[in-house]
C-alpha cells in the first residue's frame, strides 16, 4: 500500500494549497500600477477573464502585495465570490486557476507592451500568414532590423536567435513578399546562424583554463573565423576566444583594448559571463 487514506487526503490538500499559492505568487509579480490595471483585464475574454475572476480579484485586492492569506480568509473570499453557495474547495480552486491564467495572460501582454522588439516580432509572425497584410509584414520587419542595428544593443545569443528566426521567417514566406529572397537574405541567415552558434559556446570558453578545451567539434573552426574572417568584427566573440590566452602579454593588451571598446550592455554581459565561472 503506497498511500493510506490520510496520506491521500494530505496530498489533495497539498495540491489545493499549491494551486492557490501559485496564483497568489503570480499576482505578487505585479507592480502597484499593473495590479490596478488587472482590474479591467480580469473581465476581458482575451485574457480568459470573467465575472468570477473579476470578483476574486476584488476580494484579493486588500491582500496586495504580500498576499498572506489564511484558510479563514479563503472562506471569506469564497463567500464574496459565491455568496449563495456552500463552501467547496474544488470550486474555489477552479477560480484561482482561472485567476492564475488571467494574470499570466496579462503579464505576457505587459511584456508585449513594454518590449518593442518582442511586440514587433510577434506582429511579424502573426501577419506573415495573411497575404493581405504584406505591407505591415515588411514594415514591421524593417522596424526590427532598425532596432537590431542600434550600436548599443547587446548582440548575444538571444539577439542572434532573433535574427536567425527572422531571416528564416522571411524565407518561408517568400511567396507573399516583395522582398526578393535573394542571396543576401540567405547570406544573412547563414551569418546569423554562425553568430548564434559562436555565442552559445563562446561564454563556455571562459570557464576553461588555457590547457583545457571546450568539447565542441567545431570550436576550432569558429576560433579561426573569429580571428581571421567571417566573425572577426564581433568584439564579444573575440574577447571570449582570447580570454583563454590571457597569460600572453600581447593578448592581454589586446583584451584590454577590446574591453574598452565594448558598449555598456556588452561589458555587463561579459562580466556576467566571467562571474558564471
Amino acid at each position: 500500500v503506497l498511500f493510506g487514506a490520510n496520506t491521500f487526503k494530505q496530498l489533495i490538500l497539498d495540491r489545493h494549497n499549491e494551486i492557490i499559492a501559485d496564483a497568489l505568487e503570480t499576482l505578487s509579480l505585479l507592480s502597484v500600477e499593473d495590479f490596478k490595471k488587472l482590474r479591467q483585464a480580469s473581465r476581458l475574454p482575451a485574457f480568459f477573464g470573467s465575472e468570477r475572476v473579476f470578483q476574486l480579484y476584488i476580494a484579493l485586492r486588500s491582500h496586495y502585495p504580500d498576499f498572506s492569506v489564511s484558510p479563514g480568509d479563503l472562506r471569506k473570499i469564497y463567500g464574496k465570490i459565491f455568496p449563495d453557495k456552500k463552501f467547496s474547495s474544488h470550486r474555489l480552486e477552479k477560480s484561482f486557476v482561472e485567476l492564475q491564467k488571467t494574470t499570466e495572460a496579462f503579464l505576457l501582454n505587459l511584456e508585449l507592451e513594454k518590449e518593442e522588439i518582442f511586440k514587433a516580432r510577434m506582429t511579424v509572425i502573426a501577419v506573415a500568414e495573411r497575404p493581405y497584410l504584406f505591407n505591415l509584414f515588411s514594415k514591421t520587419l524593417d522596424k526590427i532590423h532598425e532596432i537590431c542595428s542600434q550600436e548599443d544593443l547587446l548582440k548575444n545569443t538571444a539577439h542572434w536567435y532573433l535574427q536567425s528566426e527572422l531571416f528564416d521567417l522571411l524565407y518561408s514566406n517568400k511567396q507573399h513578399n516583395k522582398y526578393d529572397i535573394n542571396d543576401k537574405t540567405l547570406e544573412s541567415l547563414n551569418a546569423a546562424c554562425d553568430h548564434f552558434f559562436a555565442h552559445s559556446i563562446g561564454p563556455l570558453i571562459l570557464t576553461k583554463k588555457a590547457s583545457e578545451r571546450v568539447s565542441s567539434l567545431f570550436v576550432e573552426g569558429i576560433a579561426t573565423a573569429v580571428q581571421n574572417s567571417e566573425l572577426a568584427d564581433d568584439k564579444l566573440l573575440q574577447l571570449f576566444f582570447l580570454q583563454t590566452k590571457i597569460d600572453d602579454p600581447v593578448i592581454a593588451e589586446k583584451v584590454k583594448e577590446l574591453k574598452a571598446e565594448l558598449t555598456v550592455s556588452e561589458r555587463d554581459y561579459f562580466n556576467h559571463c566571467i562571474q558564471l565561472r
Binding site: L112, M122, R130, Y161, C193, F196, F218, G221
Partner: protein
C-alpha cells in the same frame, strides 16, 4: 482602397475572428466611439467601404448633425488598426506554446520565482521532445533552455553547471551541423536554378564530422546529406533519397518537409527536362500527389500558381485526366483570387489539349479574355491546338498562319517580358510555321521530321520542343 491599412486588416480577418474582436471591443476599448465605429465596420466585413463617401456615412452615424472631419475619422480608424493588430499579436503569442511558456519562464525567473521557472523549463523540454523532430530548430530551442538554466540564479538547480555546459556544447554542435546542412541544401538548390554563388561557411568541417560518424544515426541528417548530393547531381542516390524521404515525411516540420520535397522534385524536373520524360514525368506526378495528400503545399491557406500549373501539367502527362479535373475543381480556391479564373480556363484547356480534344481546348482559350500574365502560354497553347487540328483538317491552314503571325507581332511589340523569355516562343512559332508551310507544299512527313530533327540538333530553345517531335512522329505513323 487596397492600399489602406484598415481595409486590408478587415479583409484578412475571418468571420470567427470578427466575432471574437466584437466581443473583445465591448470590454476593452475604452473610447465608446471607437467601439461604435468598429461595430459599424464589422457589419460590412469582409469588404469595408472607407472611400470618402463611405467615411462620410460612418461619420454621420458617429457624430449626427456635425460637419465631416477627415482627421477625426482617421484618428478613430488608426485606433481600430492598433486594436486589431494588438489582438492578432496576442492571439499568436497565446497559440504558440513554446513562445508563450518561454516568455513566462523568463518572467518568473526575473521575479525570482525560481521553482515556477524551473517547472516551466521542464515543461518546455517535454514539449520540444514530444512535438519536434531533432533538427536545427529543435536544438536551437534546447540551447536557449539550457542557457537559461545555466544563467539562472536559482541555488537549487538539478543539474550541475558543469553538466549544463557539456549539454550546451553537445546541443550547439548538433544545431550547427543541422543548420549548416539545411542552409547548404537551400543555397545549393537556389544556386542550381539562378546560377549564383553556393558558398556555405563551415560546411566542410560539418561534412568531415559526419564522415567521422557524427550524427550518422540520425535519419533526418542522412536525408540532408543525400539532398546535398542530389543538388550536386549524384544521380544514383535518388531512389535512396526517395525511400528515406517518404518514410519520414509525416514526422517532418512543414519547412523541412517543403525544402526536402522541392529538392527531390527539382531533381526530378531536371531529369524531365533532360529528356527522361516517360519515367520521371510519372515520378513527378507521384511526388505531387503525395505532397497534396500530406497537405504540405498549402501554405497559409494558399497554393502557388506555379505549383498548381505544374500539377495539372504532370497530371495530364501521366494521363490521369479525371484526377486532374477533380484537382482543378478542388484546389482552385487556394489560388490568389486574381488568378483563379485565368488558371481555371488555362488548366482546362491544357487538359483538353492532352486528351486531344483540340476544339474544346480552343473554345476554352478563346471564350475568355486572359490577363497579361497568361498571354504567352495561352496564345501558344491556342496555336498548338490549331496546329494539331491542321494535321487532320488542312482547311485550318490559313487560320493557323494568321494566329502565328498575330502572336509573332504581339511578341515583337510587347516589352513586358524580357527578350530572353520570349525567344523560346518566337522559335516555336517559327518552327511551326515552317512545318505548316512544308506540309502545305505536300512535303512528306518523313522529310519534315528529318528537317525538324536537324533543327533540334542546333539546340536553340523551343517551347514544346518534345511535343512537336511526338506530334510529327505520331502523324507519320497514322499516315503510314
Amino acid at each position: 482602397l487596397r492600399g489602406n491599412k484598415t481595409y486590408r486588416l478587415f479583409q484578412s480577418l475571418s468571420s470567427n475572428e470578427i466575432k471574437e474582436l466584437k466581443r473583445e471591443s465591448k470590454a476593452s476599448v475604452t473610447l465608446p466611439l471607437v467601439s461604435k465605429l468598429f461595430a459599424l465596420l464589422c457589419r460590412q466585413h469582409p469588404v469595408i467601404d472607407i472611400s470618402l463617401e463611405g467615411k462620410q456615412k460612418l461619420f454621420k452615424k458617429l457624430y449626427p448633425g456635425q460637419d465631416y472631419s477627415d482627421v477625426t475619422i482617421r484618428r478613430l480608424l488608426s485606433e481600430i488598426n492598433k486594436f486589431i493588430i494588438d489582438y492578432l499579436c496576442f492571439k499568436k503569442l497565446y497559440e504558440d506554446e513554446w513562445e508563450r511558456n518561454f516568455r513566462l519562464m523568463q518572467i518568473y525567473e526575473k521575479g525570482k520565482l525560481y521553482q515556477r521557472a524551473h517547472r516551466l523549463r521542464q515543461q518546455l523540454h517535454s514539449y520540444l521532445d514530444l512535438n519536434f523532430t531533432e533538427s536545427d530548430r529543435f536544438f536551437k530551442k534546447k540551447i536557449l533552455l539550457y542557457q537559461s538554466e545555466l544563467n539562472s540564479l536559482n541555488p537549487d538547480t538539478e543539474m550541475s553547471k558543469e553538466i549544463l555546459r557539456e549539454k550546451i556544447c553537445e546541443t550547439s554542435d548538433r544545431y550547427f551541423a543541422f543548420v549548416k546542412m539545411r542552409l547548404a541544401v537551400l543555397i545549393k538548390s537556389r544556386a542550381k536554378i539562378v546560377k549564383t554563388d553556393d558558398f556555405v561557411s563551415f560546411l566542410p568541417v560539418v561534412k568531415t564530422a559526419y564522415c567521422n560518424g557524427f550524427l550518422e544515426q540520425n535519419q533526418l541528417f542522412n536525408l540532408y546529406h543525400f539532398a546535398l548530393q542530389l543538388t550536386d547531381g549524384e544521380e544514383e542516390i535518388f531512389s535512396e533519397y526517395e525511400r528515406i524521404y517518404f518514410s519520414m515525411q509525416s514526422e517532418l516540420a512543414q519547412e523541412e518537409n517543403l525544402l526536402l520535397f522541392y529538392t527531390g522534385l527539382n531533381y526530378i524536373i531536371r531529369q524531365v527536362n533532360h529528356g527522361n520524360r516517360e519515367k520521371y514525368g510519372k515520378v513527378a506526378f507521384k511526388w505531387y500527389k503525395s505532397a497534396l495528400e500530406s497537405n504540405i503545399l498549402i501554405i497559409n491557406n494558399g497554393l502557388s500558381t506555379t505549383t498548381f500549373s505544374n500539377i495539372v501539367s504532370f497530371g495530364c502527362r501521366a494521363h490521369a485526366i479525371d484526377w486532374t479535373l477533380s484537382f482543378i475543381s478542388a484546389y482552385l480556391k487556394y489560388l490568389p483570387p486574381s488568378t483563379q479564373k485565368d488558371e481555371e480556363k488555362y488548366s482546362r484547356a491544357l487538359v483538353y489539349f492532352q486528351i486531344k480534344d483540340f476544339k474544346k481546348s480552343v473554345t476554352n482559350l478563346t471564350d475568355y479574355s486572359f490577363s497579361q500574365k497568361y498571354l504567352l502560354k495561352t496564345k501558344l497553347l491556342l496555336i498548338r491546338s490549331y496546329f494539331e487540328i491542321y494535321f487532320d483538317d488542312t482547311e485550318y491552314y490559313q487560320l493557323l498562319l494568321n494566329n502565328i503571325a498575330a502572336f509573332e507581332s504581339f511578341l515583337n511589340r510587347n516589352k513586358t517580358w524580357p527578350q530572353k523569355a520570349k525567344v523560346p516562343y518566337i522559335n516555336s512559332c517559327r518552327v511551326m510555321k515552317k512545318i505548316a508551310k512544308k506540309r502545305n507544299k505536300l512535303m512528306s512527313l518523313e522529310q519534315i521530321l528529318l528537317w525538324y530533327e536537324s533543327e533540334m540538333e542546333k539546340e536553340y530553345p523551343i517551347t514544346g520542343k518534345m511535343w512537336l517531335l511526338d506530334t510529327l512522329k505520331q502523324n507519320r505513323v497514322e499516315a503510314k
